[in-house]
């Protein structure tokens, strides 16, 4: 079961030979595996700018290349300290790859490190323009549950919910389209070294779209569950 794990503050110098080491995986002085420097993030780990468009095959190549170096398999015979660092580094690498590979998780992560979004934030309020449709949908779901409980005919209700589901899936792909175009805006702003206010505005839009997406997705999932 769970055993305590040591989190130590990443040093500015090599823990082994005390050489200055910033920005490398292995100490240039003694070759030992290093902890990730403080303030590093998933983008930096892959030597990427904080942009939202990522070339997936290059990301995978880099992931595999770093896996060779950092994986605990390489450190079975090493000291306990080195084994610990390898465990920490390879888990961070895997976490980073998992996050950056997924376009939605990538946006969430960017907003989190830019300070716009709290970790795990998912506003579950209905976007105002959807209120009416959501209300109808919930009503139909209730009716279906009742009909199921009574054992009465559900064909008509199922048909209605099918339609509603399609409608919301359509909205979901609209939101995804908007996310993509806003992500492009973000990348352009980074390229143009845009100032803080302009960036903040784009980030607020992205944050809004993420919340909207998460809300609609939940709706779709709920309908799918009832229709199963």
């Amino acid at each position: 079961m769970a055993t305590p794990l040591h989190i130590t503050n990443p040093p500015l110098v090599c823990w082994n030979c005390h050489e200055r080491t910033i920005g490398t995986h292995f100490c240039p002085g003694c070759g030992k595996l290093l902890q990730l420097p403080q303030g590093s993030d998933y983008f930096a780990m892959f030597e990427l700018p904080r942009k939202l468009w990522i070339e997936m095959s290059a990301l995978e190549q880099k992931f595999l290349q770093l896996s060779w170096k950092l994986h605990p398999d390489n450190f079975v015979g090493a000291t306990e300290q080195e084994r610990g660092i390898s465990l920490q580094r390879s888990s961070e690498l895997n976490d980073a790859y998992r996050t950056l590979r997924d376009p939605i998780a990538r946006v969430e992560y960017l907003l989190a490190i830019e300070g716009t979004r709290k970790n795990g934030e998912n506003k579950q309020q209905a976007p105002p323009e959807l209120l009416e449709e959501v209300f109808e949908l919930n009503e139909s779901l209730d009716e279906l549950r009742e009909a199921k409980a009574e054992g009465s005919d559900t064909a008509l209700l199922r048909h209605r919910l099918d339609e509603a589901e399609k409608n919301f899936e359509q909205k979901l792909s609209e939101v995804d389209g908007l996310l993509q175009s806003t992500a492009r805006e973000w990348d352009a702003a980074i390229d143009a070294s845009a100032e803080g206010a302009a960036r903040k505005k784009i980030m607020a839009q992205l944050n809004d779209l993420l919340n909207r997406r998460s809300y609609i997705r939940n709706l779709v999932v709920n309908v799918q569950k009832e229709l199963l």
């Binding site: 079961m1 794990l5 994986h71 079975v76 920490q88 888990s91 976490d95």
Partner: protein
């Protein structure tokens, strides 16, 4: 440091394998009987000695209350989890079992990791006799779908057997490693599905094989399965079916746990195996009333009976493919693993589903152990031409308000994987925050597997001020580690995690102490016994040879030499230096070479006498 081996700790059979340094090929190590399969059966003698494997199988019939099989089904589980198993398996659970199951064997009770450690120790002995060297480290395989508690229980078993467990490797992944050595399935980017149906567990894993400049990477994309689905279930169905027939036909109703039931089960497993080869098989089973229950089974009949079991494997297969974002025809290779996949119905079903002939070239019983040996070799030699990237089979979650679960590490994440969560207090001067860690895909905590509960200690402060970062980390074995840090003080918290099901460190310490009591002699001691036995037999042979009339032809100097060697060997046998005993055995062998020749010539002459030359 001693040798390192790969071990497949199976529900029905266990195996041990190593990589031959000369050929680089993995090989299974045979036991005393010559077979590489060690039945996962343990029996405890009234005198306390532990019997494992084939000899224990016989005791399953003669002393069922002292014997146990399929203990893997109990690993890492709580008493309430196994109620359904108890109807089908003759496990005698100690009624006093609380979180940890204890099994009654005769007048003693054992935990499942202890019983598994007896099997591991037996395999360790096989390997040590084979190498003539100590074995102290191992890679042990587990079903890919094993949860944290089941993995930890396996690791504990290794420790109790005196093995340092360098890695737990998922069985289907191990199989892929073993196949990869023989024939690289597909070129770079090839996708492989491994369908692994063993005695008690089912796994499906989807892997991507990547060739890089540095070597081959085996990246698991997704895995799914059922840790309680396997050949055992087929046997249970067959047994229930025939019980019913005997009840109707002969009005004999025997307890499913008794001796008769075990004998019937054994006979039916034979029928099942036979029906994989032939289309009909006849059961002749003597009943207590003197009658014989005779019945012919057809393969079709068996297939109709076991179809539900085969069908149950297909849901995990579909989920694994969906998680890997693949269609059945999107795979380049399919590999069958586990003894149960010898069943023609399973081969057909898998072939139809994937529209591709599955690989069955390697012995399905041995392939997992062979893969474990490959991984053991990688870890031992630091072989840099192969890397295995596996995943966690189940999502890791934390209980939130209202009994819901917040997933922090999704299933099929490459391991090691981690997640950080920030915690604070809800009321002023709150001194503890309770954290409940779970594993599973369901939304409510009560439907997931409880891994651990612990309380974060917080220094008294106004509500919301403390900021404690908790790091959850799943290591390369798929086992959870937890650490916490107070972000205001950067102070490290030690977390005392009480496993929900399983052994804590104190339990393990105690068992390690107790295990000495049960343990067979250690390696050196066994070597001494073996060397003495061999010495005795050569001494007897020498005495016999010297008594032969032909021995008189031996020159006096040689005779003296033989006598001196005998004395030296007898002297060595008094001590416990097995190397010295072996040395003296060799010495005596050399001294008696001429004597043996003399006797041989005489023996040949005797044999030839009275025979014509043409007959020679």
């Amino acid at each position: 440091m001693g040798k390192i081996v790969g071990i497949d700790l199976g529900t029905t059979n266990s195996l041990v394998a190593y990589v031959d340094a000369q050929t680089g090929e993995p090989k299974c190590i045979p036991g005393p009987s010559g077979s590489t399969l060690c039945p996962s059966i343990v029996s405890i003698d009234p005198d306390g000695s532990i019997i494992v494997g084939e000899p224990a199988r016989r005791r399953l019939l003669t002393q069922p209350e002292r014997s146990i099989y399929s203990v893997k089904r109990l690993m890492g589980r709580g008493p309430s989890d196994v109620q359904s198993e108890l109807k089908l398996f003759p496990f005698r659970i100690d009624p006093a079992s609380k979180n940890m199951i204890r099994v009654q064997l005769g007048d003693k009770v054992f935990t499942p990791p202890e019983i598994s450690s007896f099997i591991l120790r037996e395999l360790k002995n096989w390997a040590e006799s084979y190498f003539g060297e100590t074995v102290d480290r191992a890679v042990i395989t587990v079903p890919a779908y094993f949860n944290d508690a089941q993995r930890q229980a396996t690791k504990d078993a290794g420790k109790l057997a005196g093995l340092e467990v360098l890695r737990l490797v998922n069985e289907p992944t191990a199989a892929a490693l073993a196949y990869g050595l023989h024939e690289k399935p597909a070129a770079a980017g090839g996708k492989v599905a491994v369908y692994d149906l063993g005695g008690g567990t089912f796994d499906i894993s989807v892997l991507k094989l990547i060739s890089t400049g540095e070597g081959d990477i085996y990246q698991v994309l997704s895995t799914n399965g059922d840790t309680h689905l396997g050949g055992d279930d087929i046997d249970n169905l067959l047994q229930a079916f025939v019980h019913e027939q005997i009840l109707q036909h002969d009005q004999i109703d025997f307890s499913p746990h008794g001796e008769l039931a075990q004998e019937l089960r054994k006979a039916l497993i034979g029928i099942k195996h036979q029906l994989s080869e032939t289309t009909t098989a006849t059961l002749r089973f003597p009943l207590p009333n003197g009658d014989v229950f005779a019945r012919e089974f057809t393969r079709g009949e068996l297939e109709a009976l076991i179809r539900p079991v085969v069908d149950r494997t297909m849901a995990p297969v579909k989920l694994a493919l969906a998680d890997a974002q693949l269609k059945p025809n999107g795979l380049d290779e399919v590999v069958l693993v586990g003894g149960t996949t010898r069943t023609p119905l399973i081969r057909r079903t898998v072939q139809e589903f994937f529209d591709r002939k599955p690989h069955t070239e390697l012995n399905p019983d041995e392939v997992v152990a062979l893969g474990a040996a490959v991984q053991a070799n990688i870890l031992d030699q630091g072989v840099k031409n192969m890397l295995l990237l596996d995943v966690t089979p189940l999502s890791l979650g934390i209980e939130t308000y209202g009994g819901a679960v917040a997933k922090v590490i999704p299933r099929n994440s490459t391991i090691p994987a981690s997640a950080q969560e920030l915690y604070t207090t809800g009321v002023d001067n709150q001194t503890g925050i309770d954290i409940h860690v779970l594993q599973g895909e369901r939304e409510l905590a009560k439907d997931c597997r409880s891994l651990a509960r612990f309380t974060l200690r917080v220094p008294p402060a106004p509500a919301g001020l403390p900021r404690i970062e908790v790091k959850f980390l799943i290591d390369a074995n798929g086992i959870l580690q937890v650490a916490a840090k107070d972000l205001r003080t950067s102070e490290q918290h030690t977390i005392e995690v009480q496993p929900s099901y399983g052994l804590n460190d104190t339990d393990i310490e105690r068992m390690l102490e107790e295990s000495i009591e049960y343990a067979e002699q250690d390696f050196a001691e066994r070597q001494v016994i073996e060397a003495r036995t061999e010495a005795e037999s050569i001494l007897i042979a020498t005495a016999k040879a010297l008594a032969n009339s032909q021995a008189a032809q031996l020159p006096a100097a040689e005779r003296q030499n033989v006598d001196a060697s005998v004395v030296a060997l007898r002297e060595a046998m008094k001590g416990s230096d097995y190397k010295l005993i072996r040395q003296q055995i060799d010495e005596l062998n050399r001294a008696t070479e001429h004597l043996a020749e003399l006797l041989m010539t005489t023996a040949v002459q005797t044999a030839l006498e009275g025979k014509r030359l043409a007959e020679v």
